[in-house]
């Protein structure tokens, strides 16, 4: 009998496993230390959780294997073959820097060094016409050299190949003939879009990652199979869906942000369960906070995405803003007397001062301890927090320099951290045309639930949702996904000249490709959903905006009006008299995976007894005597008035005075900040 769904999220420190019983909808959580080979950690965790893989109907997985391979450059030797004269596109990039002013901070080196970038004679012009056919002798010579060099993967990146991929395809054939078994990525297949650096960079990342993720997923698949799992391994990709190993070889770079998307998906799903179609995810961990946004039930997606600055990976990706504010972020005073918070962090080791591992600078965690918001132990007693060390650090680091009491100083530290997080939320919401008052904030990660209400208040967000297991919410995200592929194609036409029949034909082509891919992954036609959108802009603008498009395509005038409306929402103005251009066609192809329902809990009417009481400072002034509850004691239907603190294995929830918390039927805590 297969009635379990298992999701595994492997992070740098912990491997989180989320096990759901399809019949009951109940969820179990297992957390184990990650191992050098992540597969060992996964298997150990499954073992610890006593999961019988023979009973697992669906196994999904978010992994940082691809991200880490890029960052550490532990990549197999990869070569790039390009048009003669364009050997250095990925090194020239757009030539800009991330740190504009620091002349000693450089953009990192490209994924393929210059010596392994070879060129061949061929050229296609901007209209797609072959100006110079591929020189076969040249191509064979390059293949021969690459074979001698024993490269493990090749990216073929030719100029204007987005208009005509014939030369790339021929080059691929020759490479496959000369060096069988070596994966070859070609830019016209990986990302048929204009602008050479963005397309080449994506293709190169794809090629370099292909052997890495193929190796990883086939080893993991093999181990799972040995242990009795019978279905396809599902891999979470940056776009917020999953794909099967059948697609991994050709689209390896889609896994480059696998670990990042999970939290955003979980946040969106939990908010939907609670009845909020608009939500902002605030995932605050030890060193950083990830902020994401879902509007009308859809996560915000971006194509401006990279693992390292300068090397775009232009697949649709869930938009996540990361800032250097976490529990371990250091509070410090700069030379001109300003109180700062982060981005430097005490990390996990030595960690906050109260860990007693030698750090003496105050962190957010220390401030929360001083304020009584955090207790003296974390993770069920595995980590003990020393309030004396926390107090000393806050006293020396902030209270004395500013002449504040220690509680006022701790309050100041937390408020600066909250303000920084609020700025990040503001950037993803207000500056994109969304009004935070229409949203719920989902606070998760180890530290999110301590700060969520303050951030919500700062932005006038009416409700804060704290999921049942805030610390392992990302793993839950891996459980909640569909198979999804994103297709796109440059389509550069003025709207006035656009022919609906031609657009329809172009979409039909993409849809054919999409259906084929989904079928290849075993998705039944009935479970297939296709969503079209068109990127458009005012003629002469440089950035486009996506507008959803119907099937069949309908009147161009409707698309133009939809574009005006989107432009006005995002940027606050529209130009009815200005001509509009089409830029790109996008297709999202979804293979719906039946979702198991999360367990629903009946209201019991029980009133939990606080496990303790302690003084908690909610501002820098006086403390309030505050009840402390154990999360597992809180039944569905409970209403708690602040002040209260709720403690659990992986997080602490702060319910300040003036707010009211409800426990819903899924055991989420919903804190009403304002009615």
């Amino acid at each position: 009998m297969q009635n379990l769904r298992v999701a595994v999220d492997v992070g740098g420190t912990f491997t989180d496993i989320c096990i759901m019983d399809e019949a009951s909808g109940l969820i179990r959580i297992e957390k184990t230390a990650s191992s050098p080979d992540p597969i060992d950690g996964i298997m150990a965790g499954l073992d610890k959780a006593a999961v019988d893989l023979g009973e697992v109907a669906l196994f999904s997985h978010g992994t940082t294997v691809a991200t880490n391979a890029l960052i550490t450059r532990r990549l197999p030797r990869t070569a790039m073959v390009s048009t003669r004269g364009f050997r250095d596109v990925i090194e020239i990039r757009r030539a800009n820097k991330e740190e504009l002013w620091d002349t000693y901070k450089d953009v990192v080196r490209p994924y393929v060094p210059r010596r392994d970038r070879l060129v061949v004679s061929e050229r296609i012009d901007a209209q797609g016409k072959v100006v110079t056919p591929l020189d076969e002798a040249d191509a064979r010579e390059v293949a021969r050299i690459l074979k001698r060099r024993q490269v493990a993967a090749v990216a073929v990146c030719f100029m204007n190949a987005y208009m005509n991929g014939a030369n790339e395809r021929r080059m691929k054939e020759i490479l496959e003939e000369v060096m069988p078994g070596v994966p070859v990525s070609i830019s016209s297949q990986v990302l048929p879009e204009i602008f050479e650096h963005e397309r080449f960079s994506t293709t190169v990342a794809n090629a370099a990652l292909s052997p890495v993720v193929v190796n990883y997923t086939s080893r993991l698949g093999e181990r799972l199979k040995q242990e009795g799992y019978k279905r396809d391994l599902l891999l979470l990709h940056t776009g917020g869906g999953v794909m099967t190993p059948a697609s991994v070889k050709d689209f390896a770079a889609r896994l480059a942000g696998s670990g990042i998307a999970a939290g955003a998906i979980a946040s969106r799903h939990i908010a939907m369960l609670c009845g909020f179609r608009n939500s902002i995810g605030l995932d605050m961990g030890g060193t950083s906070t990830d902020v994401s946004l879902a509007y009308e039930g859809q996560s915000r997606v971006t194509k401006d995405w990279f693992v390292e600055f300068g090397y775009p990976i232009r697949f649709s990706s869930i938009e996540v803003l990361t800032i250097g504010a976490g529990g371990g972020s250091l509070a410090w005073t700069d030379e001109a007397g300003s109180l700062r918070n982060g981005p430097q962090s005490a990390g996990a080791n030595p960690g906050p001062a109260c860990y007693g591992n030698g750090n003496r600078q105050p962190t957010n965690t220390d401030a929360n301890v001083v304020l009584g918001r955090l207790g003296t132990s974390l993770a069920g007693g595995k980590i003990m927090l020393d309030p004396k060390l926390a107090t000393e650090a806050v006293e020396e680091g902030v209270a004395k320099p500013f002449g504040l009491t220690v509680h006022a100083a701790a309050d100041a530290i937390v408020r600066v951290a909250n303000a920084n997080m609020s700025d990040a939320v503001r950037l993803i919401s207000i500056s994109r045309g969304y009004d935070p008052r229409d949203f719920a904030l989902v606070a998760f990660g180890g530290a999110g639930a301590l700060h969520g209400v303050d951030v919500a208040r700062e932005l006038a967000i009416p409700a804060v949702i704290v999921p049942p297991n805030p610390g392992v919410t990302s793993a839950l995200g891996c459980l909640l996904v569909d198979v999804q592929h994103d297709f796109s194609e440059s389509y550069l036409v003025e709207a006035a000249d656009a022919d609906p029949a031609a657009i329809e034909a172009a979409f039909a082509r993409l849809e054919g490709e999409a259906l084929e891919r989904l079928a290849h992954e075993g998705v039944a036609p009935a479970d297939t959903v296709l969503q079209r959108s068109i990127d458009m802009m005012y003629q002469g603008q440089w950035r486009s905006l996506a507008v959803s498009a119907p099937s069949p395509i309908g009147a161009i005038a409707d698309l133009i009006e939809a574009f005006h409306q989107n432009h006005e929402r995002e940027y606050n103005f529209r130009r009815d008299d200005a001509p509009v251009s089409l830029f790109r066609l996008n297709l999202k192809a979804v293979g719906v995976v039946p979702k198991a329902e999360l367990a629903v809990h009946e209201a019991t009417g029980e009133v939990p007894v606080p496990v303790s009481r302690r003084p908690v400072w909610f501002d820098g002034g006086t403390a309030l005597d505050t009840p402390v509850y154990e999360r597992s004691d809180l039944p569905a239907g409970l209403v708690l008035a602040g002040p209260a603190v709720v403690e659990q294995l992986d997080s602490t929830v702060l319910i300040p005075p003036g707010t009211r918390a409800e426990v819903d039927q899924y055991l989420n805590i919903i804190i009403r900040v304002r009615d």
């Binding site: 050229r123 303000a419 700025d423 130009r575």
Partner: protein, 661 residues
């Protein structure tokens, strides 16, 4: 430690970050809505000003070249409209003679009212694609006065109480080659200033008018305090240097000096340009605002972590002789101010490299612009096309680190280079080469970064001309601490059917060009840092494997002899004994090379026995690179500086042989 702040520490920190966020939001909005491709490629800046017009915050990602000029234009607008400003108004200005940069940089300024009184101004500055004048893109190299350069916009009201003044906007647009885009950019920039207004009003709502007003002043005091503390920690002293513009086209041969003396006294820095040349007969002049900006940007490079605002600008002072090349007055042409600008920046790099050796950096390549336009013959309607291109190049070698390869020019590190595929769609041009140029890095113990070469063919086009705006064809990118120069800038053209290249050099305008003509130009690498004979041979070997350096120049410039074992497998080896011998030879000879009669070098160049890199790096001789004629005055200026920056720093070599590595 901390001095008492006028605000509690939390409110202060929150306001400081909110001000910066409000400005960054303007930048974000502009990037997403602009029409000018120059703005899109990040030639823009945004600022929040206090009620006096001082800058309280400038964007983190703003282009360097606008730094320190936005408060001047804000103040000029205030002067013009004093007593006549209303909520919803937006003003425009581009005037370089009151502190702007050049005519293309058009600034939109919005007063922000709280409780019926102005509390702040927001400003959005962007490089428009065209502002009229005699050539497309408004860069006329031959201009000597502003009248050929473009439209000078003294303060005007562009929106009156929320309504676009169409008459004024249309007048602006009608004086450009791209009226539809200009109207679009006016709307995009005006909206951006409103994004900032919205944020400031939110802060006023939350903290109250007085607190926000105090905050606007406090953030400036904060930055001023930080800079002054760092200046005070540096022992008082004087440093001086000079850099050059290649020539004055209206005068004879000889480079045009820009002299800078930096004095640090207590907690203040003074930059004195006394001795700099008077304005010259081209567009390569800088008015006071641009000079101020160059100093601010150059100095800011050594304080990368500090936020930018008027507090920073209060910590230094400038002395510039009136009417000099760094203080041009109306109506002297200034569109090419970036040429003196980058010279000032690099001179400041050089002086600060001595003060902060841990952040030392040699000279960067020179900014270059190529403009060609005419009728696009690919289409039946033969529309006008305008190809406006700029390239990245190498940055200077550093103390313990090679220079950055292929990076945007130092006047604006945020500026992006353009994709060839976009250019080929829009213009009848096919690019055949855009690659890193082997041997372009200036040799040094830490070499400069590599430059590129871009070569393109003109396709079906009619009535087409080409112009080029660059420099350092003669004042070649220099090394420091014993490092060597890189190579001259300049463009060459091969006419359709011809078998020989014509050298057009680094500055020319309106040269006819037709179908089949091939134009090609390199960008220089960065200057080297430290004696190249002290470079670890293994690093030279790696550079050879990647073709950053050729086997031939590894020997000539670094004295490293490399044996090719199997080039296909990148298999090379350093010949240790031969390297030691060669390095000894070079040490013995290089003084002699530098003393060689320049005429002899010129003759060798003409005979083909001495190439361009040899002339510059070995003999420090500058020629007319086309004819091989010696430029005597230029060479003597170049040799003087080469002596100071390079030769004087070469050790005897006793401790620097390869054995010591």
């Amino acid at each position: 430690m901390a001095e008492p702040l006028p605000l509690d520490p939390v409110t202060f920190e929150v306001l400081k970050n909110s001000f910066i966020t409000s400005v960054d939001q303007m930048g974000e909005q502009i990037l997403r809505t602009c029409y000018s491709f120059v703005i899109y490629n990040r030639d823009f800046s945004s600022a929040l000003h206090d009620a006096e017009g001082n800058s309280a915050a400038q964007g983190n990602q703003d282009i360097a070249v606008h730094v320190g000029t936005l408060h001047f234009t804000c103040k000029d607008v205030m002067r013009a409209f004093e007593g006549d400003m209303h909520p919803g108004d937006v003003y425009a200005i581009n005037d370089p003679y009151v502190g702007g940069t050049h005519f293309c940089d058009v600034r939109l300024i919005r007063p922000i009212f709280a409780d019926g009184k102005i509390i702040a101004f927001s400003q959005s500055n962007g490089h428009w694609s065209d502002v009229g004048g005699s050539v497309p893109g408004s860069f006329d190299v031959a201009a000597r006065e502003m009248f050929r350069e473009g439209l000078r916009i003294t303060p005007i009201r562009l929106f009156s109480q929320g309504k676009l003044c169409k008459d004024v906007a249309n007048l602006l647009a009608a004086n450009t080659r791209d009226p539809a885009s200009i109207i679009g950019d006016i709307q995009a920039q005006a909206e951006a200033t409103q994004v900032c207004e919205r944020e400031i009003l939110r802060l006023v709502d939350k903290y109250g008018r007085d607190t926000v007003e105090t905050g606007l002043a406090a953030v400036q005091d904060y930055v001023e305090r930080a800079v002054r503390q760092r200046l005070a920690a540096i022992p008082d002293g004087e440093w001086e240097t000079q850099d050059f513009i290649d020539r004055d086209p209206a005068s004879g041969e000889g480079m045009i000096p820009i002299k800078v003396k930096l004095t640090i006294k207590g907690d203040k820095a003074i930059y004195d340009f006394t001795g700099s040349h008077p304005t010259i007969g081209s567009i390569y002049n800088s008015a006071f605002g641009a000079t101020f900006s160059a100093v601010a940007a150059g100095m800011k490079t050594f304080f990368p972590d500090l936020p930018l605002n008027s507090g920073f600008y209060r910590a230094f002072e400038i002395i510039a002789p009136e009417g000099s090349i760094v203080d041009a007055k109306w109506p002297v042409a200034v569109t090419g101010f970036l040429m003196p600008f980058e010279k000032i920046m690099n001179a400041i790099y050089e002086m600060w490299s001595k003060i902060m050796p841990e952040r030392a950096i040699a000279c960067a390549f020179n900014l270059e612009y190529l403009l060609t336009g005419g009728l696009d013959g690919r289409r039946a309607s033969k529309p006008i096309f305008m190809f406006y291109d700029w390239l990245p190049g190498g940055w200077g070698g550093r103390n313990g680190k090679d220079g950055c390869n292929v990076t945007t020019a130092c006047f604006g590190t945020g500026l992006m280079s353009q994709p060839v595929e976009g250019q080929e769609r829009a213009n009848p041009i096919l690019t055949t080469e855009y690659e890193i140029l082997t041997d372009s890095p200036g040799p040094g113990k830490w070499r400069g970064g590599a430059g590129v070469r871009k070569t393109s063919v003109m396709l079906e086009a009619e009535k087409t001309v080409i112009s080029y705006i660059c420099d350092r064809e003669r004042a070649v990118v220099w090394g420091i601490e014993g490092g060597l120069p890189s190579m001259p800038h300049g463009l060459a053209i091969t006419r359709a059917g011809a078998d020989k290249e014509e050298w057009l050099g680094s500055v020319f305008s309106d040269v006819p060009i037709g179908p089949g003509d091939v134009f090609s130009r390199p960008t220089a690498g960065g200057g080297g840092f430290g004696d190249p004979l002290e470079r670890v041979p293994a690093l030279v070997l790696e550079d050879v494997k990647d073709d950053y350096v050729s086997v031939e120049r590894a020997a000539k410039d670094y004295g490293v002899v490399i044996r090719v074992i199997d080039a296909e497998l990148c298999d090379y080896a350093v010949e240790e004994a031969a390297t030691k011998a060669l390095r000894d030879d070079i040490r013995a000879e290089r003084g002699v090379w530098l003393a060689t009669d320049p005429e002899e070098v010129a003759a060798g160049y003409r005979a083909g026995t001495i190439d361009k890199l040899d002339a510059v790096r070995r003999y420090a001789v500058i020629l007319d690179w086309d004819t091989g004629t010696l430029l005597a005055q230029t060479t003597s200026q170049f040799r003087e500086m080469f002596q100071l920056r390079s030769a004087a720093k070469w050790g005897a070599g006793a401790t620097t042989g390869i054995a010591a590595q």
